[in-house]
Structures are given as C-alpha cells and as structure tokens.
C-alpha cells in the first residue's frame, strides 16, 4: 500500500487513541479533585500536565494549576496541540486524506465525532458536564475501534492502523504509571492511597481486572506488575507490545527488518521479565528505559514504512 496512506492511517489511530487516553487521565484528575484531600489535590490536578509533558506550555498560558483550567486545556483548548479537540481534528484530517482507503463506516464514525465535537465546543464543557464529555470521548473511541475491527479487511491498511493504536497506548500506560507512582509513593495515609490507586486503575479501565486477578488490597507493586507484565490486561505494556510483535512481522515486504527486530527484543523482555527485577532497578528508571525503546521503535517504523522515499 502507499506509504502516505499507511502514515495517515497510523497517525489517525494514534491521534484517536491519544484522545481516549487523555479523556481517561482527565477523568481521574476530575474525580479526585472532587474528593476533599486538600493537601494532595494539587498534585493530582497537575498530574496530567506531567504525564503529557505539557507543564511549561500550560504555565505560560494559565497562572495557577486549577482544575477547571486544566480541564479546558486538555479538552477543548485549540491552542494545545495535544487537546482532545486537536487530536480529533487531526485524526479526522488523516481520515479525510485516506477516506478512499477506510470503510465508509470507519470514516463516518470519525466524521460524525468531529461534527459533534464542534457543537460541543460551541456550548462549552460546562454545558455538557465534564464526566459526560469524558464518557462521550471514550464512547466515540470504542465506536471507531469497533467499526475498524468489524468492517476493515485484514490487510496492511488495517495493520498500520492497529500499530498506531498500540504504540500510542504503550507510551501512555508507561507515562501514567510513571507519574502516578512518583506522586503516590510515601503518602502514608491509607485512605488517600486507596482512592488514588483505585482512580489510577479506573483510568486505564483495569479496576475490575485488578479485582479479578489479585483479589487482595491494592498495592503499588501489584499495579506495576499488572500494567507492565500481565498478558490478560489489554492496556498493559506487555499486551501492547505483544500486539505489535504480531502485527509488524505480517506487514508485507522486506522494508521493516529493523522494526521487526526491535519489537521482538522488546517483547522478549516483557515476556520473561518480572516485577522484582523492575523494583531492583527502580520503577522510574525501568519505565524511562521502556519509553526510550518504544519511541525508538516508533521512529524505526516511521522511517521504514511511512516516509516517502
């Protein structure tokens, strides 16, 4: 398939996945901001800025870290390239450029999302309600994925679309875990910790999964293990990389040998790694290393398949 088409599809799904992850992350910040732990709320509200690496940009525009400003910054702010509004706009532009290559159902799900988002933006986040907005974003993302999964033929177009999803998701899970772990460790107040860890689990849609796998009290070790190594948790690093390790080798042609090799190495590390080793090197160090590797993989995919040669 055309390199440009592959690239548009890859970025289309990355942008949509990013919109969904941003909504999940915001949902946590919003819900925690409603619980009265005066001393720690600020950190929770600021967490999305740290996770997404947009602290400086935010501070240059707003004076204080205040929940309503953070919500606006990440949801409908046109000036923030990573806002949900801009992610969906970019995804729609990618889709528009390749609408001949995606099924009409996939195109219509994205186009309808964009049309609805414009009217939401006209009335503002307050009118809709923050939680309702986050739910809407997640729903639209599910709908897109369902349409893609249910209607697209299993060719390279579909593979590049999926590759974009899992690269973005792996990156996001690692970032969320990294930041949350740093601000959650050593709080010493078990009630606070309980709410925070639960909120983190909900943000990655893994609250029910945790209950089913571990049954006992929520601990940072278990959460880290679950979000890094557990094959049955769909947003874990292992699940994401496993999907990439399946997808990349089935892309036609010889162009992507480096990408295929990198993903195999990374998958082996997750397949055979264990959590005690992670805590020995330090969770933050481990995740920093993972982020470097996943971004190296993304760059390799970009230059092997997606750039015009």
């Amino acid at each position: 398939m055309l390199s440009r088409t592959a690239s548009e599809l890859y970025w289309m799904s990355r942008h949509l996945e990013r919109a969904e992850n941003t909504a999940r992350m915001l949902d946590v910040a919003w819900n925690l901001s409603l619980i009265p732990f005066a001393a720690t709320v600020d950190e929770e509200v600021a967490a999305p800025l740290k996770i997404s690496g947009t602290w400086d940009r935010y501070i240059s525009r707003y004076d204080t870290v205040q929940i309503n400003n953070v919500m606006h910054f990440f949801s409908l702010d046109e000036e923030n390239p990573g806002s949900i509004y801009n992610c969906i706009r970019s995804a729609r532009e990618n889709a528009h450029a390749v609408r001949g290559r995606i099924t009409s159902e996939v195109w219509e799900s994205i186009n309808a999302t964009w049309i609805e988002l414009q009217s939401i933006r006209r009335y503002g986040l307050i009118a809709m309600g923050a939680s309702a907005f986050m739910d809407w974003v997640k729903e639209r993302s599910h709908l897109f994925r369902g349409a893609a999964y249910g209607t697209m033929i299993r060719n390279d177009a579909f593979r590049f679309l999926r590759v974009g999803t899992f690269i973005e998701r792996a990156d996001n899970t690692a970032r969320i875990l990294d930041v949350k772990h740093q601000i959650h460790t050593g709080v010493g107040n078990s009630a606070v910790e309980y709410y925070r860890w639960n909120a983190l689990l909900r943000s990655v849609g893994a609250y029910e999964a945790y209950r089913e796998i571990y049954t006992d009290r929520v601990t940072s070790e278990h959460i880290a293990e679950m979000l890094i190594f557990r094959a049955e948790v769909p947003r874990s690093l292992r699940s994401c990389v496993e999907m990439l390790a399946e997808l990349l080798p089935s892309v036609e042609g010889e162009a992507g040998m480096d990408a295929k090799r990198l993903v195999a190495v990374q998958f082996a590390r997750l397949q055979y790694g264990d959590i005690s080793h992670v805590f020995e090197v330090g969770l933050h160090e481990y995740l920093t290393d993972f982020l470097r590797r996943i971004n190296e993989l993304a760059d390799t995919i970009q230059s092997a398949y997606l750039e015009l040669v």
Binding site: L2, R4, A97, R99, S104, E108, I115
Partner: protein
C-alpha cells in the same frame, strides 16, 4: 397535501404539461405526491441533510477558509426520463463521443478533417488546448476522452440540445450515485412503484474501462487527485474506494527510466493506468507548468513512451472548446457518415463576417460568450443587459471578433423542486457520463443540476446550484 404545481408561463416543464396536469411518465409519481404531507417531506429533507453531512458528501469551496466543506443542496423530486426518450439520448451521446474521439485521434495524426477543409486549421492548431507533444502518439484503442461529461438542456420547444462537451476531467458522477442511494433510503416506496434503471454499476464499468485502456494484463490502476483541498476531492475518494484502487497524489508517484512507480510500504510498485483528475498544465512540472507541485516529474515522457496510460489523454481540451463546438455535427458527418442525433445550439462564429453582422444586429436577443471564457465571465446576456452594457460589449466585439461566439438565449426546461410552500418549477440541466474503452458505454442516467433560486439559470454548485436524482424509467409506470 401538496398544492398542484404548474409549468412556468411559456416554458417547458418536465413534470407538468398544464397546471396540475402531470405528463404521462410522471403520473404515478404525482399520484403519490398528492398523498404525502409537507411535514413528511420536510422531515426527510432534514434526514438527508444529516446523512449527507455525516457521510461527508461535500464539495470544497475555493477562496473561503481552508478546508471549508459545503453540502450541495439536494432536492428530492426526481427528474424522470421515459425509456424511449433515453434511448434517443443514449444513441446521440454514443455517436457524439465516438466522433469526438475520432476527431482527437485525427488532429494528432493525419489531420484529415482540416485538410478536407471542414474545420479551419487555425481553430485547431492555434487553440490553447492543442498539445503538440501529442502529435503522432498512438494510444491504446485510439481512445482520448475515456470519460466524457456531456451537458444537455431541454429548450421550451421540448427538444434536447447539447450545451457543452466536457472532455478533460468532468465531475459530478459521485452525486449521481449518492443521490440515488439517498432517494432509495428516504423513499423506498417510490422504487416499488417505478421501474427505475440502476446507475450503481458506474464504478464497475469505469474500472473495467480503465483496465481495458492498456495492453497489460491485470494492470495497476490508480486515481490521481490534486489532494484533499480540491473542490472535487469527495468524488475522487469515492471513486477510488468504489473501484478498490489507490487514490494517489503527485508526491506518491515518481518516474525512473521512463516508468511510473508509486511509493508503497513494500517498496516501489509499477503503475500502468492513471485516471487523472489534474489538468494537463499541472501533470508534469518538467513538461508543463514548472511551478506545479501537483504532478509527477517525467510523467509526460513515460506517457509518450507508452509505459503508462492517462485517462483522459493529454490534449483532449482542444475538442471541448467553445470554438470547436459548432463543428461537432460536422465531425459526426465526416467521421461516421451519419446525421447527428443530438442537436447543437445554433452558434454564430463572430470571426466570420456574415455571422458577425447578424450578431451585431441582434445583440439584445443573443448570448455572446468569450471562446476561452468559463464560469460566466466575459459574457453578454442580451435580453438581460442595459443599453450601455450592450454598447460597451459591441466595442470589444468589434476589436477582437475572433474571441467571441454568439447563441440564441435558450429557455432551460424546469422541473419542480420542494420549496416552503410546496413545489415550484426551477431550471435544470443534465450531465450524463460516457465511457470509452473497447466500446462506448454509459449508465442510464446522469447528474441533474438545479438552479435553486427562482428564475435563475445558474446550476453551478459553486454558485448555490443543487442536484436531484435522475430516473430513467425502464418502461411505463404501473
């Protein structure tokens, strides 16, 4: 309940022959319409708008904010053509397009028609769209205009006239198909009452024709678009999707050793046929406009070597020019030895002294057009102009008569459209699409464009014109 419609005074209406009296082929439709409430129509109209918007059936507007997409107004009263009338149109269109292709082949080879004195040499060779680089090139099946869009109108005498032949990159066929889909979705009961000939297979015919247009077995066919900001981008994407071929932009293609390739995830892939929706001037910066970023450097030389087929061929514009138009009936006689089935609008060529004096004497009755003008520029509509405008135009005309042609002011037929109060007549035209491969074919139907404003003759979508579904009835309605 819909109020009875009527034809406009002195005009020809497709549906009504007299106030409240429907023509026979509209009888069943009119019976149905009389039983429908305006509320139902209004509700369906909103549903159609929503669906068109959601599906993104839009066109991009130039000059407006980047990426502005607009809906083309869709009217749900079908334009109905009885089978017998269509049969005549079909024969006439096939004949006309055949002759045009023979003409194009001729003027880039032997030039017999010029040597026979049937068309003046300067009309052909001094034409801005004549491409000397095409001289002596043999094309597969001798086809130049693979896709032709012929604009037809019906005059108040009830006869059809060809208004214009579009042989470069005619647009609108996607709306023909989408309008039909929309009508079937909104008013399925109408299709149970009428035998409407299907048009849905157009993309299949187009694909077959494109594959046949080169000598390679299983050729790689692509559609070349200027990109997503082009006004017809929706159509480009739609057709590529329907045919299952790649939609490419110039930057996706490159040439090496006279062969065209596209850049794919698996490396370069050879391209055999390009359905191009880019004008000649932008196809190849090495051969034509050097500033263009839309095309592919080296494409022309690959084409001349016969390594790739372009549909339509380069240089077809010479045959759809206003100065060539008056000669088409003669081409039909010359190449096919047949009488033309479809009428031309009588045309005076102002560079002929006799024609010029007639035109000057009747400026207040005629439409005078610039030969290379388009989009309504450089035009005088006599009956609608002031004395001063006519006087000014007379001077221009006398200064450069060869730049002008003149035609009688035609009254386009009307067809009812839904308006707030009920239905009212609006002017329409018709663009069927003719495909030339090993044989010449067309689907029964075309794009009917509507001037949505009362009394207006402008059917152009960029000027607020709308569209409606075109029905060719397979036999009398039941």
């Amino acid at each position: 309940m819909i109020k009875a419609g009527s034809p406009p005074p002195g005009g020809y209406d497709e549906m009504f022959s007299a106030p409240g009296a429907a023509q026979p082929h509209y009888a069943a439709y009119w019976r149905w319409l009389e039983g429908v409430s305006m509320d139902t129509i209004e509700r369906k109209r909103k549903e159609a708008d929503l669906l068109f918007h959601r599906v993104g059936i839009t066109f991009n507007v130039y000059g407006a904010e980047e990426g502005t997409e607009r809906l083309i107004p869709f009217d749900s009263v079908p334009r109905i053509i009885p089978a017998s009338e269509w049969g005549m149109l079909e024969r006439g269109l096939l004949q006309r397009v055949q002759a045009l292709n023979l003409f194009l082949r001729d003027i880039y080879h032997e030039q017999a028609i010029v040597r026979a004195g049937r068309i003046p040499a300067r009309q052909v060779f001094a034409n801005a769209h004549y491409q000397p680089c095409m001289q002596g090139i043999d094309l597969p099946n001798d086809v130049y205009a693979h896709i032709a869009g012929v604009d037809l109108i019906r005059n108040n005498d009830g006869d059809y006239y060809v208004l214009e032949d579009n042989l470069r990159t005619p647009s609108g066929v996607s709306y023909m198909i989408e309008n039909r889909r929309m009508m079937m979705r909104l008013y399925p009961e109408l299709f149970a009452r009428h035998r409407v000939a299907p048009v849905d297979h157009y993309p299949a015919l187009l694909h077959e024709m494109l594959e046949q247009s080169c000598h390679v077995t299983n050729p790689c066919v692509v559609l070349l678009t200027p990109g997503r900001y082009n006004s017809a981008y929706f159509e480009h994407a739609f057709l590529a999707r329907q045919m299952g071929i790649e939609l490419v932009e110039g930057a996706d293609l490159f040439t090496r050793d006279g062969v065209v390739y596209m850049r794919t995830t698996a490396g370069p892939q050879r391209v055999d046929v390009i359905y191009r929706r880019i004008d000649d001037d932008f196809l190849d910066p090495l051969a034509f406009n050097p500033d263009s970023m839309l095309g592919v450097p080296g494409l022309l030389s690959a084409y001349r070597e016969g390594n790739v087929v372009l549909a339509n061929a380069i240089g077809t514009g010479v045959a759809d020019d206003k100065s060539i138009y008056p000669y088409v009936p003669d081409m039909i006689r010359f190449y096919l030895d047949e009488e033309p089935i479809l009428k031309n609008v009588p045309t005076w060529l102002c560079r002929e002294p006799q024609d010029l004096s007639h035109v000057l004497a009747h400026l207040d009755e005629l439409v005078v057009k610039e030969v290379h003008g388009a989009g309504g520029y450089g035009m005088l509509i006599g009956p609608a102009s002031t004395r001063e405008q006519i006087a000014r135009f007379r001077e221009q005309l006398l200064a450069a008569p060869e730049n002008y042609i003149a035609q009688p002011t035609l009254s386009l037929s009307t067809c009812p459209v839904f308006v707030e109060e009920g239905i009212a007549p609006r002017h329409i035209d018709l663009r069927p699409f003719v495909l030339s491969g090993r044989e010449v074919r067309l689907v029964p139907g075309g794009l009917t464009r509507v001037a949505m404003k009362e009394g207006s003759l402008v059917v152009n979508s960029s000027q607020g014109g709308g569209t409606k579904d075109t029905w060719v009835l397979e036999d009398a309605p039941c």
